[in-house]
């Protein structure tokens, strides 16, 4: 199978410019800047069926086309590298092992949308990523791949590497913009959408790291080649991150549409100690959990949506048959309670309420009404908040309660409940 985003990962010093140039590095940017118009680049990316690989799966070329070209304000490209969705660790590999692929994608994207400035937002804990990407930016400036009149063309571009500071919510694109403006990460009300009013009030495109790293190969080899690699409306390959109860946790680049079963059992080496799979999160902690009868689902945005879950960020977390699902729900709920930014009451209060409720159930201290109330609390967070975090609490925690109801019921300690009535 042809590797795209990970094609350089095994090469020595793959993070250095010298190494990147050996494999036609920056030739896609040269091609775009000298032989194509911005609109042609956007059309090519539309035809490739490249979709946002941060989690939302929005068609990338279409997103770029929303930038109002007649708007006289500067336009910005912001790279979302605040990788924080539990189960996801792919962008870190791109930052550390092929940062120039990201930079070349940035040049092409900026050219397409008429931007001359890009910010790369990297989560603050990723120290090595921050250092590697900054070193790559410095190399690229020196060699005139960034800066004024790059590669002998008239195109100017500046790239700034920006560190986050430890807040899951900043992966939400408008919270990320707030954070990039030096504020706490509170998501913004939409509309206006960032394409019109984004960073510093200017038109802004926000894309995930992996998405942008796919752009140079698409320009080099053409949209048709890329579209053919994936499933019908979801072109190309994807970096699947596999963790939890598997023999070989790690990042696997596979075509969109590969089955979940193949990823877990053939690529990630199956479940350790001869145990059986009990549950699996298919796309980061926010994605509704799946059961063993759903393992033949194709891993692409549309197929996962059709069975009531989501492809999300490509983070697959596997749980074997020793896993207590009330405990697993408690761990997920604790995460949401900890990371809710606190802006909207249903999420701020609700996520803590859900966590405390499940914690009581898990420890056998549930009150008589706890299990009865749980679905109601969970379902009243989603849809009632500014950003999708609230929806994630509802979808994620709700799926444990629905699919493993009997385990929750078994936790209700009747004696304790009655004595504390």
């Amino acid at each position: 199978m042809e590797k795209i985003v990970t094609r350089h990962f095994g090469l020595g010093n793959s993070h250095r410019l010298e190494s990147y140039l050996k494999d036609n590095g920056y030739q896609a940017a040269r091609k775009a800047l000298t032989q194509m118009t911005g609109l042609q680049v956007i059309d090519e990316v539309k035809k490739s069926n490249l979709r946002g690989l941060g989690g939302a799966g929005f068609p990338t070329g279409t997103k770029w086309s929303f930038i109002p070209q007649a708007n006289p304000k500067p336009k910005y490209l912001v790279i979302n590298g605040d990788e924080g969705e539990p189960g996801t660790f792919k962008d870190k590999y791109i930052f550390e092992l092929d940062p120039h692929a990201l930079l070349e994608g940035i040049i092409i994207t900026c050219y397409a949308i008429g931007s001359h400035k890009a910010y790369i937002y990297i989560r603050g804990e990723y120290i090595k990523s921050l250092e590697r990407v900054q070193a790559a930016v410095d190399e690229a400036y020196k060699a005139n791949y960034l800066g004024k009149g790059i590669m002998g063309t008239g195109f100017d571009i500046d790239v700034v590497v920006h560190p986050g500071a430890g807040a899951y919510i900043c992966g939400e694109e408008t919270a990320l913009l707030e954070s990039l403006e030096g504020k706490k990460g509170f998501p913004r009300l939409k509309p206006p959408f960032p394409a019109v009013v984004g960073l510093f009030g200017c038109p802004t495109v926000i894309n995930n790291v992996e998405t942008i790293a796919c752009v140079p190969p698409i320009i080099n080899k053409g949209a048709e080649w890329y579209a053919k690699l994936g499933s019908e409306k979801n072109g190309g390959n994807r970096l699947f991150c596999v963790s939890g109860h598997v023999n070989k946790p790690g990042v696997y680049e596979l075509p969109n549409g590969t089955t979940l079963r193949e990823i877990i059992y053939e690529h990630a080496g199956g479940i350790p100690n001869g145990r059986k799979l009990k549950a699996v999160i298919p796309g980061g902690i926010s994605a509704p959990i799946l059961t063993p009868d759903q393992l033949d689902v194709k891993m692409d945005f549309d197929s996962l949506k059709s069975i009531g879950s989501m492809a999300g960020s490509g983070g697959i977390i596997v749980m074997d048959d020793t896993t207590d699902m009330v405990w697993a729900a408690m761990v997920a709920a604790r995460f949401f309670a900890h990371e809710s930014c606190g802006q909207c009451s249903p999420c701020r209060e609700g996520s803590g309420w859900v966590y405390r409720n499940i914690k009581r159930l898990y420890h056998g201290h549930a009150r008589p009404h706890d299990l009865k109330n749980l679905p109601g609390i969970v379902n009243n967070i989603g849809g009632n908040t500014i950003c999708a975090f609230g929806d994630a609490v509802t979808m994620s925690v709700g799926s444990y309660v629905t699919k493993f109801r009997s385990e929750f019921e078994a936790k209700v300690n009747k004696e304790y409940a009655e004595s504390h009535h």
Partner: protein, 154 residues
Amino acid sequence: MFTAEYKQELDKITHKYEQKRAALLPLLHSVQEKEGLITPQTEQNLAEYLEVPVVHVHEVVSFYHLFHQKRIGKCHFSVCQTTACALRGAEEIIEHIQERLKIKPGETTSDGKFSFGIVECLGACELAPMMQCNKEYKGFLSKKKIDELIEDNS
């Protein structure tokens, strides 16, 4: 107030941004790297330098987990407790650290050598159970590995 010389150093960061105040996060990282924490005096100085209210700086410092308002140990463990790490034994690791260091999450040992915190996903689930030890990620943690890390830094 920051010295003129220090301001020049900070200017190198702020000049990359369209608005000076947008540089607040990298500025806080830079100060914390030097001083080990963010004090109320630093918040005051940064507010004056960026021409923003001091409450704005404080709000940002208290919002983000990576900024410390009290001094942490020379060796700081941030242990992940989220799903992938939890499935592979994070609870046992956290208990072991508490027993060995005789401190609770958020505390520092009396000799100032160690502190530890429990954090949510650090984006390294393939290394589970894992933690960040100062700047470095340490994966596939075991009680033995924790003991070695504590010995190496004692």
